[in-house]
Point group: C2
């Protein structure tokens, strides 16, 4: 607290990211990172750009990366926005599109950065409760609103909303922007990007942090009709001309050139997720069906906070949220097969 | 214009960065980049981090880089904030510290991003005219205000305000934040960082883009007492947890380990600046005394817009601002000696 702060700052409740511990030999299953390295092509592209050209500003528009994403997703470059991780893309979307006179709607259990953005930009919002199985009920969004946002699959539950339901939401509010935050869609969901040509109110956000193993490079993007992208560009160009450095632009672009590697990586994680789910169900856990690179699970007899603490003592880090409705759940990132076996062994011992 | 935009977006006038042309063999003197490469230690540090660890999030607090900056400038890590270029650092400062009930003050001729940030965050501001020699007159700031910001040396003039005058401003408004934007200070100015221990209202911003040849890596920072830094952290953590990627954190940190390289680079640019200044004065240009890596100059007989155009035809790019009071000036970045000789030759021919 300081007399020098802008009035806004006093009231902010900043987001708290998952811990990035500086401890060796941890099994780190707490921040939904990919256990496998990025494509070798990404590393090669970065190495090629690690040269004297770093003295020059990057392309402020990121045209190279926009072209790669546009080609990959079959859209026009004018329908692509790129930013410093999908968190920055989302921040701009909140300011550029989701701040309206009527309140923004999002699920009560969702990515916990959403209410933080609302605080930063003074956006009025209402949360819409998920049902008892953590499913989003489209009918509950039939109410006056300024805009809608939700992750699909949802976080931290991993639940997927079928595309038909996404379409219903878009048609229910044709004059309201609907942002679908697809950070985890590559692990079993179907992207709504294919719908953008039909829905001028749809913006889809994705990230390279999860399925493309590039959390450390900070690249996210949004796809929507050009008028929505223009709003994001106007805010971005009023904030920071060059949010993506040269290495991120080239590295991220190369990631879209290695489809085999990408597909194999996603399939490995899906397979491991199913192994972990089955093993945990055998131990008595209730596991929410997941289309993400994590699972959300609760044990009928064991406190989630205790489980998290006991795992930590065994050098296994998972995410625990001390929040209403989900304080008996753990969110566990899918690691390698070896990490998963170590986790299963630890959980068996703890729950025995 | 779209029905889906937030009301704010309609009124934004985004910043227009200097052109980043995709043309070979240009002599590019338009965006104040450093003509010399970054330290080899920076490239080595980046290469060492170009590995499978890119799958992991970077340290959200950037502790490694904060420690390097703190050590270099003799301050505590809690007095350092890091961001994605000084543009992002400035953006957060506008929202966290400069948005007050009374208007923000800055010079009428200054970094043209300042009014853009004001538009983005709804900040009321007044410009204070520089004198006829583009000097900032401290006495003109003796008026009610919410905060003050100015570049030192100023942009695009290159004029330095002596530290005594900075101190006068700080003491004139002890209850108002004063941000000194030192993007160019390493080319002949004296930093105000040494004053932060005495002035709780002082925030100093710097960048690695100019004097450390890292425009392509996107790293800037601010130094001030911990209560000011906390305001920036609160806004940053409500916007994007990880604005600096792994490569930027390690590369930027390494830059502070190579003082000899840094000092030699700055000295070379200062020497070339003096050569260019003398040569242009000989051609009849009036050159504003510069403490930056650019000069700001006008010719009594030649239109600045025409000069810029004729230089462009000779594949030399300089910056021209079509704005009141400065529309007869060119801002010319200091290049290599060879680039500078080519520029001198071209200007001699054009003005002959």
């Amino acid at each position: 607290m300081s007399q020098f702060w802008s009035p806004l700052v006093h009231d902010l409740t900043p987001y708290v990211p998952g811990e990035q511990p500086k401890i060796d030999n941890l099994i780190k299953l707490n921040t939904n990172e990919n256990p496998y390295p990025p494509s070798p092509r990404v590393l090669t592209a970065i190495a090629e750009q690690t040269n004297e050209k770093l003295r020059l500003y990057p392309d402020p528009n990121g045209d190279l990366l926009k072209a790669s994403i546009a080609k990959y997703h079959g859209v026009d470059s004018s329908e692509v926005f790129v930013g410093n991780g999908s968190d920055e893309v989302l921040a701009h979307a909140f300011q550029a599109l989701l701040k309206q006179d009527e309140p923004l709607l999002f699920p009560d259990i969702t990515y916990s950065f959403y209410p933080v953005y609302c605080g930063l930009y003074g956006i009025d919002y209402r949360t819409v409760p998920l049902d008892e199985n953590f499913c989003l009920k489209v009918a509950d969004y039939q109410r006056p609103c300024g805009a809608i946002i939700f992750p699909n699959p949802n976080a931290p539950t991993g639940r997927l909303l079928p595309l038909d339901a996404v379409r219903q939401l878009l048609e229910m509010h044709p004059n309201r922007v609907v942002v679908v935050d697809e950070a985890y869609v590559d692990f079993g969901g179907q992207s709504a990007i294919g719908l953008i040509k039909d829905y001028p109110n749809l913006l889809v956000c994705q990230t390279l942090s999860k399925s493309r193993s590039l959390a450390g490079l900070r690249v996210g993007f949004a796809v929507g009709q050009a008028h929505l992208i223009e709003a994001l560009e106007r805010v971005k160009n009023s904030f920071n001309s060059y949010p993506l450095d040269r290495l991120a632009l080239f590295g991220a672009s190369a990631s879209f050139d290695d489809e085999d590697y990408f597909q194999r990586g996603c399939q490995k994680i899906i397979a491991t997720r199913e192994v972990l789910t089955a093993a945990m169900q055998q131990m008595g856990f209730k596991v929410i069906p997941s289309a993400a690179n994590f699972i959300f699970a609760t044990h009928p007899q064991k406190s989630a906070a205790d489980l998290a603490q006991q795992l930590r003592e065994r050098k296994i880090l998972v995410r625990y949220f001390n929040k209403p409705r989900i304080d008996q759940y753990l969110r566990i990132t899918i690691g390698t097969d070896a990490e998963t076996q170590a986790l299963i062994k630890a959980l068996s011992e703890i729950t025995a």
